[in-house]
């Protein structure tokens, strides 16, 4: 295996770790599609950065995108907390509106300039090794360094707020009575998802992040009832998808992100079928 292979696999595994840490909480809170929503809602942020700073450099773009990603999740949270709109409908209202703002911006002000959205925010994991950064004598791709920071932050968040996140995910009413603010924790979690997603989009592309946020977490939900086991399994399924998917992609000469997503889907199907078989056997015939 070449250095490039290792670097791509490392980057994918880092994305899988970050997504596996946060995904189970999204699935429990019925906002599994938040990653997909954020992937569309960041468009106006990119347009604004491009208009003001006239740049497509990665760091300002991540910054602008992150602002709108956070705006998107906070709007969804605010709509949901009125009690008049369910979480899924709130997502379906907010992200098309933000995306539309972005499209209007592109058509009104940047018509003469080439702003290829696919290339600007939706990175391609195959190109990750092309931008090496040397920090403290270690050479890793830029994306890997960024993701290392994100994974560390997510891990810190989940470990530090484990009890609170667990309680507010399962029983927000009880959490309120023991003075843990469910609304605040929900916002902290959603903002963490927004930042993680934006950083990961820029390096590996949107669809891989959306997939790794949902599918490993859903697979883990099929296999266990315990929260810590769900998170651990979600990270593990994410790693299997990342490493296995890369092997498949090299073998078939196919899209890396697509192959990783397919391996994750296969994991889900196996878990789903296995559960059905066990349930059949377990129930008295």
């Amino acid at each position: 295996m070449s250095t490039a292979d290792w670097q791509i696999m490392l980057t994918a595994a880092l994305v899988a770790t970050a997504c596996g840490l946060l995904g189970p909480f999204l699935v429990l809170r019925r906002v599994a599609l938040l990653g997909d929503a954020v992937s569309h809602a960041v468009l106006p942020g990119i347009v604004v950065v491009f208009l003001i700073f006239e740049t497509r450099a990665p760091l300002p773009v991540i910054g602008g995108a992150a602002v709108f990603a956070v705006l998107c999740v906070l709007l969804i949270d605010a709509l949901r907390s009125t009690g008049l709109v369910k979480a899924d409908a709130a997502i379906g209202l907010v992200f098309p509106a933000l995306f539309s703002l972005g499209v209007l911006g592109v058509q009104q002000w940047t018509a003469n300039i080439h702003l290829d959205l696919d290339a600007t925010i939706y990175g391609e994991i195959a190109f990750v090794p092309l931008q090496p950064w040397v920090i403290a004598g270690v050479e890793l791709p830029r994306a890997a360094w960024e993701l290392l920071v994100v994974v560390a932050a997510d891990l810190l968040l989940v470990v530090a707020l484990w009890k609170e996140l667990k309680l507010t995910s399962f029983d927000p009413e009880f959490a309120r009575t023991v003075r843990i603010a469910p609304a605040l924790l929900s916002r902290v979690l959603l903002v963490a998802v927004a930042i993680t997603a934006v950083t990961a989009f820029e390096s590996v592309g949107a669809i891989l992040v959306v997939t790794l946020l949902i599918v490993p977490a859903a697979t883990a939900r099929l296999l266990t009832d315990r929260l810590w086991a769900t998170v651990a399994l979600a990270v593990a399924v994410g790693w299997v998808s990342a490493l296995g998917g890369y092997g498949v992609a090299v073998e078939l000469d196919a899209s890396i992100a697509g192959a990783m997503g397919l391996v994750a889907a296969v994991c889900f199907v196996v878990a789903f079928a296995g559960r059905r078989v066990l349930e059949r056997r377990g129930s008295p015939a």
Binding site: V27, R30, V31, A32, L33, D36, H40, L79, T82, L84, V85, K86, A87, D88, A89, I91, G92, L93, F95, P96, A97, F99, S100, L101, V103, L104, Q107, Q108, I207, V210, T211, L213, I214, V215, A217, A218, R221, L222, L252, D253, A254, S255, A257, G258, A259, M260, G261, L262, A264, A265, F268, F272, R275, R276
Partner: protein, 410 residues
């Protein structure tokens, strides 16, 4: 058809777009209600992503980029995706949002892999295949409008015929199944219609707009009524209004059609959530303020009456000491009583006017009634088990029950 378009006082293209937006608005509005009430709002997102592998397979099979074949592929893939979503939900462990997400990401991953497989064959004809389904807002033909209209009519007919079963299935699926209603057939029928509407709609307006067209009219209409029989037509009307308003606005300001419609829809939803009578955010806030104020005024009234009973008329400061309420609140209550003409002043001493004394007596009587209810209420035989309103017991349980309660207490 031509005559209909001639009737609209707009240039030909704008008229077609407005008519298309109207038809799609009605169809998406009505079908969207079903999706939103089942917490499957984002099913349109999943179906439009699932179209990608469908288009790829259709292209691999036929080898040509021809609209009919690709559309059929997209529709088949949509139906497969919808069946997968329903199956995963039926498994019982994964809820609708995660089921939709799993199908969306799996289908799109498959689509990307198929795309790379197609491009690896060095087939020059494949360029732009992925763009076939996404973000084509402008190119709308009369043909599209007619197809959508026919489809919409079929959908509305199904909804009208199956209304009773649909209603039961939406609000209590288990009961509907137990009562022998064709729940599964209905679910399959509605999902199939949704798939076809999404596939046609995505061609017309793009994937993201389709999500918004399904969700916004349903959510806005839901704020205005609690009855399904009014919700469905209202969502259809709102969908049409949002579509036409967006189309006209975009034609006048020369803005892209799809995003303008989405933003008009979002504005309508925000307005309905804020202002909906009896339910909206502002309405609830005003109601809460009125309730709090009323409770404060009533309790300050009782405090003052109690103080007058016990001794000489108190000053405001003395009343503050007697009352358990924080002084600032109490002073606000006193001011409100003064404005209502229930309070008189002798120098800085407070007393009740005649109206005030009567109001205080009524209030104390109500408190006594509530104590009676707490003590003897369980012996009453009431027609329903709801807890009565402590602010007005007599109105909640009726005069006869009230008389019975008084008799029991004696």
């Amino acid at each position: 058809m031509d005559r209909l378009i001639d009737l609209i006082p707009l240039p030909y293209t704008d008229a077609v777009v407005a008519l298309g937006a109207l038809v799609l608005g009605v169809v998406a509005g009505v079908l969207g209600v079903v999706a939103v009430l089942r917490e499957r709002s984002l099913v349109g997102d999943a179906l439009s992503h699932a179209a990608l592998p469908g288009v790829c397979v259709a292209f691999l099979l036929t080898g040509v980029k021809e609209a009919g074949g690709l559309l059929a592929g997209a529709a088949c893939a949509g139906i497969v995706a919808a069946v997968c979503i329903v199956l995963i939900e039926r498994g019982g462990r994964i809820r609708s949002d995660a089921a939709i997400g799993v199908v969306l990401s799996s289908a799109f991953s498959l689509g990307i892999v198929l795309l790379t497989a197609i491009s690896n064959r060095h087939d020059a004809d494949q360029a732009g295949l992925e763009r076939y389904l996404f973000g084509q807002a402008a190119g709308l033909s009369e043909h599209d409008v007619v197809v959508t209209g026919a489809l919409g009519l079929a959908g509305l007919l199904l909804v009208a015929v199956g209304f009773r079963a649909l209603k039961t299935a939406l609000f209590d699926a288990d009961y509907a199944a137990a009562a022998g209603l064709p729940v599964r057939a209905l679910d399959v029928g509605m999902t199939a219609l949704l798939v076809i509407a999404v596939v046609v709609g995505v061609r017309m307006v793009g994937a993201i707009l389709m999500v918004a067209m399904l969700v916004s009219p349903a959510v806005a209409a839901r704020q205005l009524t609690d009855r399904l029989s009014r919700l469905l037509p209202l969502a259809g009307v709102l969908g049409a209004a949002i579509g036409v308003a967006g189309a006209l606005l975009s034609a006048r300001e020369e803005l892209p059609t799809g995003p303008t419609i989405v933003l008009v829809g979002f504005a309508v939803v925000v307005a309905s959530i804020a202002f909906a009578p009896g339910r909206g955010v502002l309405w609830s806030a005003a109601q809460l303020r009125r309730d709090r104020r009323r409770a404060l005024v009533e309790s300050v009234l009782v405090d003052l009456a109690t103080a007058l009973e016990a001794g000489p008329p108190p000053t405001e400061a003395e009343l503050c000491d007697l009352s358990p309420r924080p002084p600032r609140e109490l002073r606000r209550g006193v001011r409100a009583l003064d404005r209502a003409g229930l309070l008189g002043r002798d120098g800085d001493r407070l007393r009740l006017t005649e109206a005030g004394a009567a109001a205080a007596r009524r209030q104390l009587a109500r408190r006594d009634e509530w104590s009676l209810w707490l003590e003897h209420g369980w012996r009453l035989r009431l027609p329903d088990a709801r807890e009565p309103d402590p602010r007005d017991l007599e109105r909640s349980i009726g005069p006869e029950a009230m008389a019975e309660l008084r008799a029991l207490a004696r």
